[in-house]
């Protein structure tokens, strides 16, 4: 019998930090990096991962001080009632819009690789519906769901890593470090935002049974993600070369498509792997939906987040259908990352950390 207190263990925290960032972003990541930093993508990925670790360190420091207070209460304590509420609203909007865009990008990819003729709406609706069902169960079932899918996720990654890639040329990765540091910074920025999703950690602290090791476990998760991203990036460049990678829409899926399964029983492995990947995208979506409903629940002073989840469903659905096509979706994602994303995952934790330090010294 497990205590029924709606609390999660440290292992579950690690899984949430690991599974939430990995979503649709990974499909486009190699081409974005190739465009900005050419062969130095792997370096910028590692640097991005380090920045991410720093942010997680900030988050954990704040949490240690204020735990187990709710996130919105912490915001109000740090920045005052008015400013804190505004920040909370911004984070709420961030999670809402990103869950919508995640769904849209996912639907577009599904249409491209699996269901050529099905309209987007029919792809989006059941997916959102399942996301809502999971999110309204509460954090503990979500965490257990993450644990239950990890086996399938592990199989997915093992399959991706074991792919036999004919004609890979690792000398494509050269030259190294022949780049202006400012340009490299652009790559670090791209890389850093590919980790977006780890910020749900901000909200998790009130739900933890014991939060002592949360920095350690989240750091391990981030390092694992960095490793996966680097492997995929390196494989893409080795297989296609920088110039060709730049032109690909979904280089990761093209990479899988170009692989060769010896003694093939399966030929079009990218469809199969993408289907497995849907589970990974689903975890991101469910966590984002949960995140915005927790914040909305706190703002609206609701004890149960269950009904809030459904309340904002139409908003998510409408936002997900706003962009006209896939290109404008990417444009919108880019715009939002440059505005909301910067604030929520880079500036806010840092700001919170600094303010809490100042306030702590005063007290």
């Amino acid at each position: 019998m497990v205590p029924n207190d709606d609390k999660i263990s440290q292992f579950q925290v690690a899984l949430i930090v690991f599974l939430t960032p990995i979503g649709v972003g990974i499909f486009t990541l190699p081409s974005t990096l190739a465009k900005d930093v050419e062969t130095n993508g792997w370096l910028s990925l590692i640097l991005g991962g380090l920045v991410c670790l720093l942010e997680i360190y900030f988050i954990c420091c704040i949490a240690k001080k204020y735990s187990p207070a709710k996130f919105t209460d912490v915001l109000k304590q740090l920045f005052g009632k008015f400013l804190g509420t505004i920040f909370a609203v911004i984070i709420f909007i961030y999670f809402l819009i990103f869950s919508a865009l995640e769904v849209r990008l996912f639907a577009e990819t599904t249409k491209m690789y699996l269901l050529y003729k099905t309209p987007l709406e029919y792809i989006i609706i059941p997916f959102l519906f399942l996301g809502i069902i999971l999110a309204r169960c509460g954090i503990e079932p979500i965490a257990r769901f993450f644990e239950a899918v990890i086996y399938l996720v592990a199989i997915t990654f093992i399959l991706v890593f074991l792919l036999y890639l004919p004609k890979s040329d690792y000398s494509n990765l050269l030259p190294v470090l022949r780049i202006h540091p400012l340009k490299l910074l652009k790559g670090v920025e791209d890389s850093f935002f590919s980790f977006s999703g780890f910020e749900v950690l901000l909200l998790l602290f009130p739900f933890m049974r014991d939060s002592k090791k949360s920095f350690k476990v989240s750091a391990i998760s981030i390092m694992l993600i960095t490793f996966i991203y680097v492997v995929i990036f390196v494989q893409c460049i080795a297989r296609f070369g920088v110039d060709y990678t730049k032109t690909l829409l979904y280089p990761t899926l093209s990479l899988i498509k170009s692989s060769d399964v010896p003694g093939a029983f399966i030929e079009g492995i990218e469809g199969l792997l993408f289907s497995l990947w849907i589970v990974l995208i689903f975890t991101t979506l469910a966590m984002f939906i949960f995140a915005y409903s927790v914040i909305a629940g706190d703002l609206l002073k609701q004890k149960e987040a269950k009904h809030i989840v459904i309340l904002f469903l139409p908003a998510v659905y409408i936002v997900s259908l706003l962009p006209d096509n896939i290109a404008s979706t990417f444009e919108l994602v880019d715009k939002l990352i440059k505005s909301l994303g910067y604030f929520v995952i880079l500036i806010l934790p840092t700001l919170m950390f600094i303010v809490s330090k100042i306030k702590g010294e005063r007290a």
Binding site: P126, A264, S275
Partner: protein
């Protein structure tokens, strides 16, 4: 001697408690009123001490009590032997009850009782009540001996290596089968009677210092709430103690094997036996138990691990095979090699239905065959094999209704679903298969993934007596991995499964005898 007959007005109600009267005639009258028209009850009035002796009265249910025992060891000493030996009857006339109890009856097991309703209750379960004149106590002699089936090999859970005994319909035999495996005074068998009319015996079995007390409390509170007229089988209890009654997943494990129950009790779980049912219940249960067989523990660990993997793959196949067929043939033929895709398309050329209809036809036929095979009398059971194999399989292909590949898919599904050890789970997966097929016919592979996610969300929220259904996989217990998907050698199974939260976790001490 003329006795004044007392007027007795008596109506039975289960809650009333009538004291045994000193007047034996009154008692006889009450009991005969109560058991009027119960023609299987035998009443015997007799006198002790020869002519002019004291009156005694016994009654029992014919067929449920041991007549031989009553004749030779109760009536014989009371009526005959007592007259042949000293002391004389007149000397002990006034302490007849004590003498009968302590000196006359040659039986080991009896109790004293003084509430008529309780006495009748016990007699109806096979005991015999002995009334003695001028006494307000009754001797209840344990004479239970009713027709029982002998212990035989369970038909639903067959093992190659392992004990061959299975539960019978008699709770006493069943508890004995378990007790033989657990000779520990801390192993408790608590009995309860449930059912307002049936008064069925329920035995709750656990080891006091291992079991999770919260599970036990929860079980008792659920059992206490049951207010039903009759419990016919353990299935009744199972349905009445489960939280989610509409769920297709069983929240209590059923088994016919005493070794499985004993092993579960040693793990800190609770076994429930119900009289008249050869199926024991075990709570809490997790998905783990459904892919394990008792045999895994008796044979070589590496092989057991291999077989467990096989079962998990079989479970996945039995759900996925037809839906993958539908998804690939109607949505994603590019996934399989072009040659294979072409040959499937060629065999499907004459088939007039879409893949979904084809699959539904064949799966429904298979389900029908299976159901018919269970119901058929044994001598003509093999007919089903011929009808199923030849007529449906081959003829359906020849007639161009289904493609040969579909027949293979159905065969794989069938074989896979039979290799799942738990019958109830196998049935649940059968139902899931149809949900997956419908989803695959709408969305292809995406539909399969959607139904996978949906099923998982459901199962993750399911709990059996507070234990998450997917434990130890989710929540993850690393130490329990030694005996879940994997099966390590017994030497390394030093602790009990932690996900059942046992009080005493150590099951195997160190070699020097310490814990």
């Amino acid at each position: 001697m003329l006795k004044r007959k007392k007027e007795v007005t008596y109506t039975y109600s289960p809650s009333s408690k009538t004291k045994v009267s000193k007047d034996i005639e009154e008692n006889i009258e009450i009991i005969k009123t109560m058991l009027k028209d119960c023609d299987d009850v035998v009443f015997r009035e007799f006198e002790v001490g020869g002519d002019g002796g004291e009156k005694m009265f016994l009654f029992y249910v014919d067929g449920m009590a041991d007549k031989l025992l009553l004749d030779e060891f109760v009536l014989m000493p009371l009526m005959i032997s007592s007259r042949e030996v000293a002391p004389d009857f007149n000397q002990i006339k006034n302490k007849l009850y004590e003498v009968t109890k302590d000196n006359a009856m040659v039986v080991t097991d009896f109790k004293e009782m003084d509430i008529i309703e309780d006495i009748v209750m016990e007699v109806l379960s096979g005991d015999t009540a002995l009334f003695i004149s001028n006494t307000d106590k009754v001797l209840l002699i344990a004479t239970k001996a009713f027709p029982t089936r002998s212990v035989s090999e369970p038909s639903a859970e067959i093992v190659i290596r392992g004990p061959r005994d299975g539960f019978t319909e008699t709770i006493r035999i069943n508890t004995a089968l378990i007790r033989r495996r657990i000779r520990d005074p801390r192993f408790k068998i608590k009995q309860k009677r449930i059912g307002v009319r049936s008064k069925t015996d329920i035995a709750i079995m656990y080891i006091e210092d291992i079991v999770d007390k919260r599970v036990l409390d929860q079980l008792y509170s659920k059992l206490d709430k049951i207010n039903i007229d009759a419990i016919i089988d353990s299935g009744y209890i199972q349905q009445l103690i489960e939280d989610k009654v509409f769920s297709i997943f069983p929240q209590a494990q059923t088994t016919e094997r005493p070794d499985v129950v004993a092993a579960a009790v040693y793990e800190g779980r609770v076994g429930i036996l119900v009289d008249n049912s050869p199926f024991a219940l075990i709570v809490p249960v997790t998905i783990n138990a459904f892919f394990q067989s008792g045999e895994d523990y008796y044979s070589r660990p590496v092989i057991s691990t291999f077989i467990r993997f096989l079962r998990i793959i079989a479970g996945a196949l039995s759900i996925l095979a037809p839906s993958l067929y539908i998804a690939i043939t109607s949505f994603h033929p590019q996934i399989i090699p072009a040659k294979l895709a072409l040959s499937i398309a060629a065999t499907r050329e004459g088939v007039p239905f879409p893949a979904f209809v084809e699959a539904i036809i064949m799966e429904a036929t298979f389900e029908l065959l299976r159901e018919a095979g269970v119901r058929l009398p044994r001598p003509i059971g093999s007919t089903i094999g011929i009808v199923g194999g030849l007529v449906i399989g081959q003829a359906a292909v020849a007639a161009g209704i289904v493609s040969p590949i579909m027949v293979i898919v159905v065969a794989i599904t069938a074989i896979s679903s039979f290799s799942i050890t738990n019958y109830e789970l196998a049935t649940a997966l059968r139902l899931l298969r149809f949900i997956f097929m419908i989803a695959a016919s709408i969305y292809g592979l995406y539909g399969i993934v959607l139904s996978y996610i949906g099923t998982l969300i459901y199962v993750v929220n399911l709990k059996s007596f507070g234990t998450p259904y997917l434990a130890p996989l989710s929540p993850f217990y690393i130490t329990d991995m030694k005996d879940s998907i994997f099966k390590l050698p017994l030497k390394y199974l030093k602790t009990r499964p932690l996900h059942f939260d046992p009080q005493d976790i150590i099951r195997q001490g160190d070699e020097d005898g310490s814990k």
